[in-house]
Amino acid sequence: MATQHSRSAARLMMSPAVILLLGWMLVPLIMTLYFSFTDYRPVALPPTVAECCVGFENYVRFFTASAFMDSVWTTLIMVGGILAITVVGGILLAILLDQPMWGQGVVRILVIAPFFVMPTVSALVWKNMFMDPVNGLLTHLWEFFNATPINWLTDVPLFSIIMIVSWQWLPFATLILLTAIQSLDSEQLEAAEMDGAPAIKRFWYIILPHLARAITVVILIQTIFLLSIFAEIFVTTNGAFGTRTLTYLVYQRVLESQNVGLGSAGGILAVILANIVAIFLMRIVGKNLDA
């Protein structure tokens, strides 16, 4: 049991790390908050350099712009779509990889490989090698079957980006879920099998509940990363055709329009929305973690 003395010693020893981390997070956040209340357009004529304070003007402008709600929906659809594909695909792949097979090690490495490809590179490869409407592999495949090729990035842009990102995140989900499956006691499954439970039921009543916690971890971690998805959009569509997420909108406001005030307001709104999503997720799925 910790004594009063050892507890305060621990606090003292931890404090440098805590202060450093807090500073690391708080300084940029406070600066963004400050800029969001200023009219800061450094390249405007004449330049307005952090003129404080314009009240909630930037927030109102960002919030009421027609692009805002669109970008929120796009973000949610994108994150939702990718989560659905990676979780379902991850479970299936994990079960598959769990089966004893020849060359298991090589197969596992191949399945995990996409995770090590940089987002920009993977987006470029998908765009130019697979989805290109003239030279793409998929176009040739469609033509081989005498079908009219799809213009992936213009006809189904959102779906295409979801595909690209899912391809990258699937290994992550698979890896976590595979570890979870491997921790399942095989005697339980054998017992169920001997009792005559069919494969579907064994999956539904034994494997899936066992995976619940791993699925929660996958969803939480992926959501945090996917809310800030950027490179894939930048490389493939530049935010056109309804693929502009909230992050991309903030980027456009700050770096393309050089309106730091407006962009900062957008950034703060994005942080708030991300937190709402996180709290919502924690409430709904996070309770699995308590079990």
Binding site: R41, P42, L45, P133, D155, A240, F241, G242, S257
Partner: protein
Amino acid sequence: MTMTMRALLGATALCTAASVVSAQETTLTIATVNNGDMIRMQGLTEDFTEQHPEIALEWVTLEENVLRQRVTQDIATNGGQFDVMTIGTYEVPIWGQQGWLVPLDDMPEGYDADDILPAIAGGLTVDGTLYAAPFYGESSMVMYRTDLMEEAGLEMPDAPTWEFIKEAAAAMTDEEAEIYGICLRGKAGWGENMAFLTAMANSYGARWFDEEWNAQFDTEAWSNTLTDYLDIMTNYGPPGAANNGFNENLALFQQGKCGMWIDATVAASFVTNPDESEVADSVGFALAPDNGLGKRGNWLWAWSLAVPAGSDAPDAAKTFIAWATSKEYTELVAENEGWANVPPGTRTSLYENQEYLDAAPFAQMTLESIQAADPTNPAVDPVPYTGVQFVAIPEFAGIGTQVGQEFSAALAGQQSAEEALSNAQALTEDEMSAAGYN
């Protein structure tokens, strides 16, 4: 070794170090774009450092978009990180007006500023003062397949009209064989599809703003521009053109899949290079098309070197710029890499040099295209801005990209030309009023 010896050796070493330091007392940090010509310049800097041992060079080479963001950030916050910046004709007028650049009116002796092409110098000048020296310049022109034109029984005039381009595109298109009559930019962005469309609009008598800074997308001229563009591209363009920018179209043209391509003059050396292009021996060049209104649909751009006002070594920076943009530098490149590889489009004397004209079949058309562009007077009607394929105001990059997205969506068939134009009008009005123009 005795103490004295050691002390002596130490002293000698210190002296040598000190003399190295004093020999290179100025270090210039140069921000540059990763284009071929710029990379070549870095390889040739020994020539400069030999002439100026007191100046050391430090390079920061970046991709175009990243460079633009980095230098903008640095100059707007007075960061003083760079002594020489590579910037385009979009930035120079704005930054010059802000007082962020050092005027280049007192370049070192022997620098022939009068030799710079007037159209290029015009884009880099604010109120009669030159604020940047052009490293290479470009316009846009028609690049076409001579063999396909011949097959179609047509002959490309040196100065075609849009009517003829449409006719030729129709005649050359053969979708079965994956040959598309015309490839044009469709990818959204102020420097992508909007560069082309703004230049095209100029030749249709359209403009971005009237003299009171009112957006003009609700005019008939814009409607004609966009309708014709969409019409040409949907009927004779490659599939998925709404995602094609310069690089995508270059690849298509080099593979022999485009009958015509209207884009940067700089592309001429890539499409005529037999190592890179399958159609190198059958490429012809013509001026960008017009509509008989007195303006052609060609743009004007120059990557230029400028000294930010925050630099602590403006004189050394000017010395470097004078070297990099001089006639002597051109000769140095010619000597090392051949005449076809010298940076084009900045000096009159280059286009009077027979050796260059012989080595570069596209030289004459490049020069004529550059001369046909007038950044201070880009549209048929008067405008309050400079810039041919852009509007040199700080808000343009943001507005241009959003308008580009509307037009790109129209090209992808997600909305009609009317919808795209009315959205463009609305968003431009919003942004301009928020920026305090009207």
